[in-house]
Amino acid sequence: MAQKNTLVISSADQLLEARTRRDFLKVLGVGGVMVLLPTALAACGDNNAVTGPRPGSGNALTIDFANGDFAVLQFAYALEQLEADFYTKVVAQFGSSGLSAAEQATLADIKNHEIIHREFLKAALGSTYGFTITTTYPAVNFSSRSSVLGTAANFEDLGVAAYNGAAQYLSSTDYLTLAGKIVSVEARHASAIHDLIAPKTSAFAPKTFDDAFSPTKVAGMAQGYIVDKLAFANAPSTFVQGPNNNG
């Protein structure tokens, strides 16, 4: 049996996983030992390693809700930058990803859509409200099909929940419609990616109602991939929950 008081780390990635950290604290609490297998350090320096700055370690990126609808668009812009950057990296590493030709075609389409979403928001926000985020992917292995697809599914599901939850803060019907135009495409993406992971199951649409997450909840989840420290100023004090009541 595995020794309860020994935590084995075989990959540096594991050090960044919440579960590992929890176990680590547990192990320390009972005076156990942590074993760093050679592979944990051997991985450093290649594409799979933990590289770049830690999430949230950079400068503050503050979205001020006093800017009204522009704050919602800025929030969307941060997420679209993350998605576009992620898929750009995915496409760049198709050669070693183990993704089939059909899967690559689907992901290349999604990359195009996310870049266009990003560039659209960039144009809409202009230099007054624009900014550029720095991304980081401590737990993503771009040479692993399952890591790429799993991360993509998380991003798309999060994107859907983010737009669904932020829509209530828009006061312009034009922007509300625009958010609607984008969110359903994110949902189409989510469905397609879940279908690649678990074809012919109910995974493409696991819930009767999609989630609607508050900006605070979304920021907490997206922060794991963003170096800038996400923050809100004048954040709305109320959030109207969706049917799943989990935002």
Binding site: G68, H113, G180, V185, A187, A205, T208, V240, G242
Partner: protein, 275 residues
């Protein structure tokens, strides 16, 4: 309100809301940004104009109308999948998990929207009698074994319509945040369904241009306008990075387009029996 004066269009229900809104404002409650800007300018007429536009969008009858309209679409979908899943030999066994899930969702959407309507003190409309041959346009379709391709084509038509229908109604819900959020969470699920069925049929999960792909001509209204590239005053087909990232096709795929209630009604009417 296009042809009438503003005064003519204000019904007592709205005036009640205006008064309620004025009370909120006098109490210093949150106000929308346009109104705040108008008040900051010290312009009462401008502030009133902003307020009037705002309350029009949140007229209770508007929200109810949207809900009854959504109910009709969900009833159409629910009956379609109920009958499809129940039909012997229609759906490929390997695809049953997909359609069982969609059926369960549409059934639950009907129940949820009925509850929202009831919660507003109104009575949900009864389900009409549907005609899934679309008055003969889908000749002979009756959920029989061997009609699976037709069933999937109709499913795609209904789901792509549903996505555009909810999107078109969202602005009318802008001041009822609970109903807006509920509608959006259904809207996204319909988009997931649409993507899955399209992919099951060998298509992309997203809509390119205004193409109905292999669907029959009578469904073209479901796709008209999907080739729009003007988004919020920005031509997304001519952004500097569009050309190297899928071009115009990707620019149209990246945005789903709304349909008006009248456009959706024209699409759905053939599926309602004339009795």
């Amino acid at each position: 309100m296009d042809q009438k004066t503003l005064y003519d269009t204000i019904d007592p229900e709205i005036l009640t809301r205006v008064n309620a809104r004025q009370e909120e404002i006098s109490k210093g409650a949150s106000i929308n940004s346009k109104l705040a800007a108008a008040l900051a300018l010290g312009s009462i007429p401008v502030a009133l104009a902003a307020l009037t536009k705002d309350v029009f969008a949140q007229a209770p009858s508007d929200v109810l109308d949207v809900l009854q309209f959504a109910l009709l679409l969900e009833q159409l979908e629910a009956e379609f999948y109920d009958r499809g899943v129940a039909a012997s030999g229609l759906i490929d066994a390997g695809d049953m998990a997909i359609f069982a899930q969609i059926k369960a969702h549409e059934d639950a959407h009907v129940t949820a929207i009925q509850a929202l309507i009831t919660g507003k003190g109104a009575t949900p409309n009864a389900k009409p009698t549907f005609d899934f041959t679309a008055h003969g346009a889908v000749a002979g379709f009756n959920f029989s074994a061997g009609q699976y391709e037709t069933f999937k084509a109709l499913a795609q038509a209904f789901e792509d319509t549903g996505v555009r229908a909810y999107k078109g109604q969202a602005p009318r819900l802008i001041n009822d945040k609970a109903v807006l959020t509920a509608a959006l969470t259904i809207h996204a699920v319909e988009a997931r369904h649409a993507s899955e069925i399209r992919r099951l049929r060998g298509l992309k999960g997203w809509i390119t241009g205004a193409s109905r792909d292999d669907l029959p001509a009578f469904t073209q209204g479901i796709y008209d306008g999907e080739d729009n590239v003007m988004q919020g005053g920005v031509d997304v087909s001519s952004l500097s990075l569009t050309a190297s990232n899928g071009g115009v096709d990707a620019a149209t795929e990246a945005f789903d387009e709304p349909l008006t209630k009248a456009q959706v009604t024209a699409i759905v009417m053939p599926f309602i029996a004339t009795s």
